[in-house]
Symmetry: C2
Subunit: 435 residues, 2 copies
């Protein structure tokens, strides 16, 4: 039986996992697919380091063209990451009529539209299951499993590094800097952790999800992004006392008029299912108008889990090749002609509950002045805590508000932060109080 | 653009949900599929009751043949449930060259093989996403999303009724009978709850999962099945004190030599993710050799959630029709020629931890006699509780064992239950102590 030829660009962590699966699980994959997948060539700048994968040394090359231009390769997997040369390689492979599979969320979130258009024009498939949620099959589940639904909400823990850090801070009360250092030592965080801890990686992933959930064009700039680096052990302690856990959540809601699209630290009830998603695990909670609430959980990164998702895409494309059904499911789940931009809700119009931590002088009348300003802006308080009077020379006053408009909140905090009795910028964390 | 013709057999709860989705979400489905799905006809014995679904009265019929034999219908959805006439209708539709979609787990678990063979022979597709886990897209996720994996384990909460009852018993300490009554009043349990509370429904679903996970023929008799009707509030109280929650779990493990296949009440750690799956929700925890652990969570039953899964199958089949790719993914995930029976591990060979509750007389030496018999059978005790001396005139002695062989446990319990100091049959609950 004719095998399906597969070529790999990038022999790093995920590339090695992908190759390992293609080699070691070849038999079980063939018994499902009906034909063997054959890993024909791997291109990487470094072809001497041993990755612990049993591949014939002769299939290794330092020249990407040996993969992209090879007539015996049907599917090109791009696992280089980053913008260039990954993008150029993908477009060239597409131009050569190759189907492509990628895990490159940063590239898709910025230039995905161009890549998908090129693929549609050329009549080739693009798989990107591994770009969001690592090994969790959530892209296909949204595009196909929930195809009968109007999607109404997405709540995702989409960055394993940030979740690992917040879990550690919650369980062991370390500072952000200390825990980040530990995560770096353990290999859970990169030397430059900006994309992970500042929410950018999660925003890339949410950008892709928004497109497949709502049929809107890819638009990274529409996503509000805020990271976790300002969270303190003090905040963790207070939010626990209020019955909350903190997660870096990627959130979207569609009320039919506008779409919310935001990534930020978020307090969620400690007994909610997402609060139990800890360590480097990822999860996506989806609300559909027919199905209600479903959740997908699993490893959001790593050599073998991400490889699992990459290979599932390869098999998916291979099935299309075998049955002559290329383009069977549109790359973003919607027919391109039906996709159109929707209004993205401004953060000013957001209405949620808030957690505030004020750093105020320990004087009579402080709470009254703060709550006076909040009241003026129609922000009503659900509960207040004053604790630990000896922290940093100032009194932390902690509040949970009722639902309030973000524009009002920003105005109120800017007034409050200018008060002479307020010693530091007020900490604001949004709350999602569902279930 | 040509629409895809859809016919529905059975206009009950799930049938109504399916029709509602096909009508109300027609536009969003078409924007994904590229063509409209058109609900051409609905057959049910009762076509007069208002289901709250806006369908033209002229498409209703009491004659199933009007659906099965109609030339304008491409896909027949069977939502009658049970064995006959559902099976006959399905086979006749297949024989007419119609693709079929069903949610009928009882039928598939017994006669699925025959139905899949008929469909393969006739070259039509069979969709059954809704047969396991209601609205959760888990069949496709295992068949396609985890296609790169050798599946190593399945842990499922697959029956919403049983989960609802156990959740209530855990949160509110009612007896099984009282809570069952309540569940019946709320419509969560049927008048004859046998299939749900005795684990039969969960075993039907596990039977289907085993086949798609391991590529083995459908064999309901291979699944050990035990229900929840013997669980008492006393057991719930004790297991909570040991840090466990109780779930009716469908469990399978593949150690490479044999496959475990069992449905029974199971104690799991209270802080595990599955322990947080409460009420009528379902979840499936899957371990794959590449991906590690993933979990799928959502509503396991209900009009709209199950309808969501049914319609996802219809769209999937419609995509195959449109792109000429019928049979693109084998019904059970494996190429039929590669499927073969595997050894199912006998329950005697099971090795797990156990919870025992002995009902013994309140006399000195009782614990020593019981533990003597356990020791003789090489069952070692991890912890013992003796509490509540006034219950039913006997002392409940509760134990957690270390891992023991089930054959030894059965022998030991049969000896213990014959002791004059033991007043009632010993309660045995298996423990899965992961993570």
């Amino acid at each position: 039986m004719n095998s399906i030829g597969v070529g790999l660009l990038g022999f790093g962590t995920v590339g090695s996992g992908t190759a390992k699966i293609l080699v070691e699980n070849q038999e079980v994959i063939a018994s499902r697919l009906g034909r063997p997948l054959e890993l024909k060539r791997i291109a990487d700048l470094d072809i001497t380091t041993d990755r612990g994968v049993k591949v014939d040394g002769r299939i290794l090359t330092t020249d990407a063209a040996d993969v992209i231009d090879a007539p015996d390769i049907d599917i090109v997997i791009e696992l280089i990451g980053g913008y260039e040369p990954a993008k150029g390689f993908l477009l060239r492979a597409i131009d050569q009529g190759k189907h492509v599979v990628t895990a490159n969320k940063a590239l898709l979130a910025s230039d995905g539209w161009e890549i998908f258009e090129a693929a549609t024009k050329k009549g080739v498939d693009v798989g990107f299951e591994a770009s969001v949620g690592g090994g969790i099959p959530l892209i296909q589940s949204i595009k196909e499993g929930l195809v009968a639904n109007r999607i109404q909400g997405l709540f995702g823990i989409l960055n394993g590094t940030a979740n690992f850090i917040l879990t550690k801070m919650t369980d062991e009360t370390g500072s952000f800097a200390d825990v980040l250092k530990e995560a770096q030592d353990l290999g859970y965080a990169e030397l430059d952790p900006t994309f992970d801890v500042e929410g950018i990686d999660a925003a890339h992933k949410l950008t892709i999800l928004l497109s497949i959930a709502y049929g809107i064009p890819i638009d990274f700039d529409a996503v509000y992004t805020e990271g976790i680096s300002r969270i303190t052990p003090l905040d963790i302690r207070f939010m626990k006392s209020f019955g909350y856990r903190i997660k870096l959540l990627a959130i979207s809601k569609d009320d039919g008029k506008a779409i919310e699209a935001r990534v930020h630290p978020t307090l969620i009830p400690e007994n909610s299912l997402l609060a139990s998603v800890n360590q480097a695990y990822n999860a996506l909670y989806v609300t559909g108008d027919a199905v209600g609430n479903v959740m997908f959980y699993g490893p959001g990164a790593g050599m073998m889990p991400t490889g699992s998702a990459v290979v599932s895409d390869v098999v998916n494309v291979a099935r299309n090749i075998i049955s002559g059904a290329v383009g069977r499911v549109p790359a973003l789940g919607y027919q391109p002609a039906t996709m159109q931009a929707r209004r993205i809700k401004s953060m000013d119009d957001l209405a949620v509950k808030y957690y505030f931590r004020f750093s105020a002088e320990d004087r009579p009348g402080v709470l009254s002045r703060i709550s006076g300003i909040l009241g003026k802006h129609e922000i009503s308080i659900q509960s207040v805590h004053q604790q630990g009077r000896d922290v940093l020379g100032a009194v932390p006053i902690v509040m949970i508000t009722h639902e309030a408009r973000e524009a009002a909140v920003r105005q109120a905090l800017s007034e409050i932060d200018r008060l002479d009795i307020v010693k530091d910028r007020t900490m604001l964390i949004r709350i999602e109080d569902w279930k």
